[in-house]
């Protein structure tokens, strides 16, 4: 009899434990429960969506070397401007340390000046133009260890690759010539990590849009066409905004 009671009591305890465990698995804490438990508040939970791409929108002046020659000075030091978009895929990510990327960019810029009379060389109302569409393939690395580990909102990056710049020049409605200038391109970048200034906003952006990080940057780059390319190379700079998602 006593043994039966012990068995029944043990069975009852087991049933309670199983029931409690089941509750722990299936129960969804409601809002009030979440608010009472600080560790469940959103700001306390680690959340980060996967990072696959880096998108940069950038612009700045650009005066190719041809513009400084006797032929190109017709443009009178025109500086563009140069607008471009870069999309990189993240090949390797060491969290809170660095990214290795591979991607490309495309941009547009144009130069314009008054054409000249073929008879006496005087300026006429018609325009002569040089339009460029630079396309780049680059590999890059960027270090975000400073903002992630030391709370210093500075990111350093660098890229190297190849550029194909499609050029087209014309006078009035006439296209005089077009072609591609290609050569190596390298760039160095210093970025200001915006997440460091507004971590809650950065978190919201990640939760709602999947954008992990945002930054403003300045970039110094050099393009050096090779072979019989039109000499469109130059060293110049760009400013822009970037998104990692």
């Amino acid at each position: 009899m006593r043994r039966q009671l012990c068995v029944r009591a043990l069975a009852g305890v087991c049933a309670l434990l199983v029931s409690a465990a089941a509750d722990g698995v299936h129960a969804e804490p409601d809002q009030s429960y979440t608010e009472l438990e600080p560790r469940l508040k959103p700001a306390m939970r680690a959340f980060e969506s996967p990072e696959h791409f880096i998108l940069e929108l950038r612009g700045g002046p650009y005066t190719p070397s041809i513009v400084d020659t006797a032929a190109g000075n017709i443009f009178g030091g025109d500086k563009g401007p140069n607008f471009a978009a870069q999309l990189d895929g993240i090949l390797r990510r060491v969290p809170n340390f660095y990214y290795v990327t591979l991607g490309g960019s495309i941009g547009t810029l144009s130069y314009s000046a008054s054409a000249q009379s073929a008879i006496d060389g005087t300026s006429v109302g018609e325009k002569t133009t040089l339009s460029l569409i630079p396309v780049q393939a680059t590999a890059g690395i960027r270090f975000d260890v400073l903002p992630r580990k030391l709370h210093i909102p500075i990111i350093f990056g660098a890229r190297a690759g190849w550029e194909w710049a499609h050029w087209s020049t014309g006078t009035g409605a006439r296209t005089d010539a077009s072609g591609w200038s290609s050569g190596p391109v390298v760039s160095l970048q210093v970025a200001l990590d915006l997440d460091s200034f507004e971590p809650n906003g950065a978190r919201s952006l990640d939760e709602e849009w999947g954008i992990n990080h945002t930054y403003l940057f300045g970039e110094l780059f050099h393009f050096e066409p090779v072979g019989r390319s039109l000499p469109l190379g130059a060293t110049s700079w760009l400013l822009g905004v970037g998104f990692i998602f």
Binding site: E126, G172, W180, R228
Partner: protein, 371 residues
């Protein structure tokens, strides 16, 4: 444009009860049928009515007035009536009642109703209705517009289309609809300060816009002579050429396609609300051409010609010619001799690779999310 283009449909307006005199002479009290039928303006001035659909106030311009008629269609006519009369109410009067034929004034600006007599009407100005077909009516508008070249009336005129049992001008309408026409025949001001330039394939010309104009047409005389008539042309601000065909202030009638039927003049292009354009000098086959600008307002009225200016067609050179002249030898096309692009047609291969890479990355991301 199809003749049956349904534009400017005007609903019959609500009216107060009137006394209708039936064709038999018996007088009965009746309610005029509101919205009994629709009016569709299909042609103005003998041309298809190109206006905004369902806009009965699109203006009748000078060209339409000069042609003298508009054509309307009366749609979904009720079967109870045998005749249609058309009356004009210049100042918003009511022409549906039996007293419409009694003029209170002979002034053109009076409130009196005046009867319009479409071709084919009888001595009373009545048109017999042929049912069940919709009724097309050609309405003379000479009286509305005034003599050609004069300005008679600017504003809205109500045209009453009355359905009657008989042909009496004193029978109150049993049903009617009103078409409100805006007469706008005043020409717009021409553009001013028209100036030409020199070039080869894109010669810039400019002008100062005139008020309330919608379109600009550049009229070119490619037969301009190189010796300017200094007594005429210098006064117009141009001393490099002289045109016999074009003179400031002249009237040029453009056709339906906005072309000018006067050789050798050509209309280069039409431009909306702009203050300049470019002219293809190569297409003119002349080293010198004179031009002026005609403006057109929203009603479709054309201005007189602006001041006449000149353009010089000269061969031009640009950056590429200078580059070659300075020993430039850049390869055109794909720059195949460049290192790194062995006949690869630029970055096509790279872009294809990038696209594949992007697809793989998206797929990888999707797979990770699935986990």
């Amino acid at each position: 444009m199809a003749l049956g283009l349904m534009l400017a449909a005007a609903r019959a307006t609500a009216q107060t009860p009137v006394t209708t005199t039936a064709g038999t002479g018996a007088t009965t009290s009746a309610q005029p049928s509101t919205n009994a039928f629709q009016i569709s303006l299909t042609k103005a001035g003998g041309k298809p009515y190109l206006g905004t659909p369902l806009n009965p106030t699109l203006p009748i311009n000078a060209q339409a007035c000069n042609q003298g008629t508009i054509q309307v269609e009366l749609l979904m006519l009720p079967a109870a009536y045998r005749y249609v009369q058309v009356w004009e109410a210049p100042m918003g009067g009511d022409c549906s009642g039996s007293g419409r034929s009694v003029s209170t004034s002979t002034s053109a600006t009076s409130n009196a109703c005046q009867q319009l007599r479409p071709p084919g009407t009888d001595s009373t100005g009545s048109t017999q209705i042929t049912l069940p077909a919709d009724q097309p009516i050609v309405v003379p508008i000479d009286d509305l517009c005034g003599a050609q070249g004069t300005i008679h009336f600017q504003g809205t005129i109500a045209l009453y289309f009355l359905l009657l049992h008989g042909t009496s001008v004193t029978e109150a309408a049993g049903a009617f609809s009103v078409l409100n026409l805006t007469i706008a025949t005043t020409p717009p001001d021409p553009a001013t300060n028209v100036q030409g330039n020199s070039g080869e394939t894109q010669i810039n010309v400019s002008w100062t816009r005139a008020a309330q104009t919608a379109q600009y047409f550049v009229v070119i005389d490619p037969t301009a002579i190189s010796t300017a008539d200094l007594t005429i042309d210098a006064g117009l601000g141009d001393t490099i050429c002289h045109s016999v065909e074009l003179t400031e202030g002249m009237t040029l009638n453009l056709d339906d396609d906005n072309r000018v039927n006067l050789r050798p003049l050509v209309v280069q292009d039409e431009h909306y609300s702009s203050d300049g354009t470019t002219i293809d000098g190569e297409s003119l086959n002349t080293p010198l051409a004179a031009f002026g600008v005609i403006t057109k307002d929203v009603a479709g009225n054309y201005s007189n010609l602006s001041n006449v200016s000149c353009i010089k067609v000269v061969p031009t050179t640009g950056f590429w010619a200078r580059y070659l002249a300075n020993g430039g030898d850049a390869e055109q096309g794909c720059a195949c001799s460049s290192v790194g692009s062995p006949r690869s047609r630029g970055p096509v291969g790279f872009l294809a690779g990038l696209a594949v890479f992007g697809l793989l990355a998206v797929r990888l991301r999707t797979r990770r999310r699935g986990q």
